[in-house]
Symmetry: C2
Subunit: 198 residues, 2 copies
Amino acid sequence: MKEKKMIEELIKQNRSYRRFYQDHPIDLTTLKGLVNLGRLSASGANLQPLKYILSCDPQQNAKIFSCLTWAAYLKDWKGPEEGERPAAYIVVLGDTDISKDAGCDHGIACQSILLGAREKGLGGCMLGSINREALREQLNISKQYNILLVVAVGKPKEEVVIDKVGADGSIRYWRDEQDVHHVPKRELDDIIVAEYAS
Amino acid sequence: MKEKKMIEELIKQNRSYRRFYQDHPIDLTTLKGLVNLGRLSASGANLQPLKYILSCDPQQNAKIFSCLTWAAYLKDWKGPEEGERPAAYIVVLGDTDISKDAGCDHGIACQSILLGAREKGLGGCMLGSINREALREQLNISKQYNILLVVAVGKPKEEVVIDKVGADGSIRYWRDEQDVHHVPKRELDDIIVAEYAS
């Protein structure tokens, strides 16, 4: 394997994007290809409780959008304007007939999904702040399914950069005057609590 | 981007491995590089509650191994024999001083970590079946931290293949007479519950 840094580059490029070229079309084939990456990923006890709803339909997208809260730290921003909204969504469900608790399976699957999207020049964001009751009603989601995450997908229309966490210790992301989105990440030394080598 | 299928190939190759060339050395630099991939991945509300313990020390590895349950569906197999055990571990913790609940952050981070390992010709397994009380004592892990997952890392010494789920519907993995590990995965049509396109 020659490109040993490929995955690192892709992970670095795979930021959480919240503004998109809404007119950039994404079709069901693309969404299915992304879900397939989740399907092929690890699942606790191999139970595979995750199920998916796909949408690249403007009317359904509008319904989904109405149930989401975007970027809670940006108090003056209510989410992407019309024209900058996701062209598609993947709603990630936990099938309680299979398992009451999906563990962290949705995290594993959605990371695969978004890395796959990034490789295609797309991008997205995992959204957990969802009006679940409203979304269940809008999309007629059976009580059999827990609503775990909504993944927004589109062609990114914003720049997102990683910063070091500053002296104040805040991890709140923010936007500068050029509308660049800054995300403070803890440093490696601050997240390793012990290391053992012989 | 030319290699549009790269991530798909890597995800396919990234099986859960449980038998390794135990003597194949893995150093702290490698483990830190993998944790860095988790660090650069998404985190709910960007809180970044994940912390890590790294071990590539045989004595510490033995302590960690003693707290793990391997491949629960393989009733006749107690886990990898001496000589086929992981050369390293990454213990993933949730820092409750930052957040009481890590959400699915550990799934996101561990998928990045294992994809990075696979790219380097290594492999591993996320283990959730942990004697947490024993591990806390063995590694002196403060009550501040929840023990979320243990990631075993090594150079894989087994073949793992994906099968379709059979007529009986069982998702239990199994080993054939050649000791190949088979993992039944649900098909794409069985995990998509609705799709909307205009």
